[in-house]
Amino acid sequence: MADFLALIVAKYNYWLYIILMMIGLYAMIAKNNLIKKLVGMNIFQTAIILFYVSIGYKTEGTIPIIQNAHGDHGSHGAVIQAADYINPLPHVLMLTAIVVSVATFGVAMALCVRIYQRYQTLEEDELRMRLSEK
């Protein structure tokens, strides 16, 4: 039982990121409404960010802001222990990824508005019908 719990704790994040990603991907492929697809896209991207953040976590670590750093430069007596701080690199990468995803989201929304102006609908099957009419 304890082993099983340990396994769940160890892998739960990875499993659930995969489930989230599957939800997002499914919405992107199977949904009919363009805005629903965009929501799927965003879920898909956040799932990947969740994966990266999970990589960086350390059970015993604290947030990656060094405590007694400024003020006195001579305080190097307390050597910084790497194991005490959570890995900052994935966070940096994911800041970039979040911003990229919101940029894509904004452009996609603008496109949706533009498509709606032209066709008065955002449903994919209706759009396809409109296109084949012409």
């Binding site: 991907l25 992107m28 363009l34 697809k37 896209m41 898909f44 991207q45 990947i48 994966f51 990266y52 990589i55 690199l89 994935p90 990468l93 970039t96 990824a97 990229v100 940029a103 894509t104 452009v107 996609a108 496109l111 949706c112 533009r114 498509i115 032209r118 759009l127 296109l131 012409k134």
Partner: protein, 498 residues
């Protein structure tokens, strides 16, 4: 000056913002600024290529930090060659697009130049960088700019094609990002060299396997390998001409470059071909892509769309060649990056000239074009010969290497597909020539008297001189590149592969 590697990317980036700001002072300032920025970029790229040929790989540390900590530009022979190619084509296209941008985007030409420059920044950065995550950010810049520019094209279909491209493009880029994440969890590093060093000590890991597949599938989606190509034909067809002229030759080729870079510099030959033994399967994929692309091209009624399907077939050439697992195949694939970029550029330049004058690229509207636009069509014929693979042009040489490589690897199906696709291209282009040459324009058929002198009254209506000059220059470069392909192979590709 040793800042040339950075300047290649920084010059157009700075140029983009200066062009954007200058547009608020005087609208006409944007174009010369853009031109100067890309010119500087081309100049630096040529300089870097000279340096690399003379003294070997250049490493440039961004912000001065040593590689695994900071981001580094690592420019070897392959990079340097593709950089010159990309900046050259971007520069020439900007010269050619002055008139057509004004025609197509009317009051928004300045913004077009800004986005165009950012697109070039993305492509150049993708080629120059030596960092896996930096590659992702730059891929996103190229993608975001292409979404925008595609949506600006055709009023009805453009936005839909762009939105479709966003969905598929985001899946591709996210797969790549996820692959990088798996690599990172196993190696703890993002620098390509460093990752490759650590990976060589890891054997039989499922994580690396997953990382490999995610990265490669992501890149395949971005380069539109056959079953994943659905976004490409619509996207490139409905884009504005000035943009499709640069995105069609460069985007997919740069992605092929990324694939080759990942194969050679990150995962390594041994891992792919010995441990996973994937060569055969992917060569089959390439074969299918070549066949499917050529056959779908046959059924198109629009010249631009037909050419986009030919691009799909050409991607099959390069993917197949790169995965033949021998030196000849890889040489062919790399040489084909250069040649195909030039050929596609020449073809789309001709299409751009036609679209500028005729305002349509439907095959039915192209009748009598040889009489109306002789110079444009001369360039088109030359480019078509090159795609088919007629000897003095450059297309022949890369196909030659690819076929030799296929025979050496025993992949006869791939060789057969190459030859079959050349035949189909020949049929295809002669069909176009027939329409453009033999059938005169429909108004000639109307009156019975004018039958005799309908040929003598053909008016020559050529595209503007700037477009013609670029078109002619590129068409001639096809032959020049063909004649010098031995030099390219011996001074750049073979030293790189060994």
């Amino acid at each position: 000056m040793d800042n040339y590697p950075a300047l290649i990317v920084i010059a157009p980036l700075l140029g983009a913002f200066f062009a954007g700001l200058a547009a608020w002072i005087e609208k006409r300032l944007s174009y010369p600024i853009a031109l100067a920025a890309l010119g500087l970029s081309l100049f630096s790229a040529v300089n870097v290529l000279m340096q690399v040929i003379a003294s070997g790989t250049i490493q440039y540390r961004m912000a001065g930090w040593a590689p695994p900590m900071g981001i580094e530009y690592r420019i070897d022979l392959l990079n340097a060659m593709v950089l010159v190619l990309v900046s050259g084509i971007a520069f020439l296209n900007l010269i050619a697009s002055y008139k057509s941008v004004i025609q197509e985007t009317t009051d928004r030409a300045e913004s077009f130049y800004v986005i165009y420059l950012l697109f070039c920044v993305g492509l150049l950065g993708v080629v120059a960088t030596g960092d896996l995550f930096n590659l992702y950010v730059l891929i996103e810049i190229t993608s975001l700019t292409s979404y925008t520019l595609i949506a600006l094209g055709d009023r009805d279909r453009g936005p839909l094609a762009a939105l479709n491209y966003i969905f598929i493009g985001v899946i591709g880029a996210s797969f790549y990002l996820l692959g990088v994440g798996y690599l990172y969890i196993k190696t703890g590093s993002l620098n390509m060299m460093d990752v490759a060093n650590i990976l060589s000590g890891i054997q039989g890991s499922t994580t690396v396997l997953v990382a490999f597949f995610l990265c490669i599938i992501g890149v395949w989606i971005k380069m539109a390998l056959f079953p994943l190509h659905v976004w490409l034909p619509n996207g490139y067809t409905y884009a504005p001409v000035a943009f499709s002229r640069v995105v069609a030759p460069l985007m997919t080729k740069v992605m092929v470059y990324v694939m080759i870079r990942l194969m050679i510099s990150v995962f390594g030959y041994d891992y792919i071909f010995t441990e996973l033994n994937l060569g055969q399967a992917v060569v089959w994929l390439g074969t299918i892509a070549v066949l499917a692309g050529s056959i779908m091209a046959l059924s198109q009624k629009n010249l631009k769309k037909m050419l986009t399907y030919i691009i799909v077939a050409e991607i099959g050439y390069m993917v197949g060649g790169a995965w033949l697992a021998n030196e000849l195949g890889m040489t062919g694939a790399i040489l084909h990056i250069v040649n195909d970029a030039l050929m596609t550029f020449a073809l789309f330049l001709a299409v751009g000239n036609i679209a500028y004058k005729i305002k349509s690229t439907d095959l039915a509207n192209l009748k009598g074009l040889f009489g109306r636009m002789p110079w444009t069509m001369a360039g088109f014929v030359l480019a078509a010969f090159s795609i088919i693979g007629v000897p003095p042009t450059c297309g022949f040489f890369s196909k030659w290497y690819l076929v030799l490589g296929a025979f050496e690897a025993g992949a006869y199906h791939f060789a057969a597909a190459l030859i079959f696709s050349s035949l189909i291209c020949a049929v295809l282009f002669f069909k176009v020539f027939e329409i453009c040459f033999f059938e005169s324009r429909s108004n000639g058929h109307g009156d019975a008297h004018g039958h005799g002198d309908s040929h003598s009254t053909v008016i020559v209506e050529e595209a503007p001189i700037s477009m013609l000059v670029v078109s002619g220059l590129v068409s001639i470069s096809l032959i020049v590149a063909g004649l010098y392909s031995g030099t390219i192979v011996n001074t750049i590709i073979l030293p790189f592969l060994r």
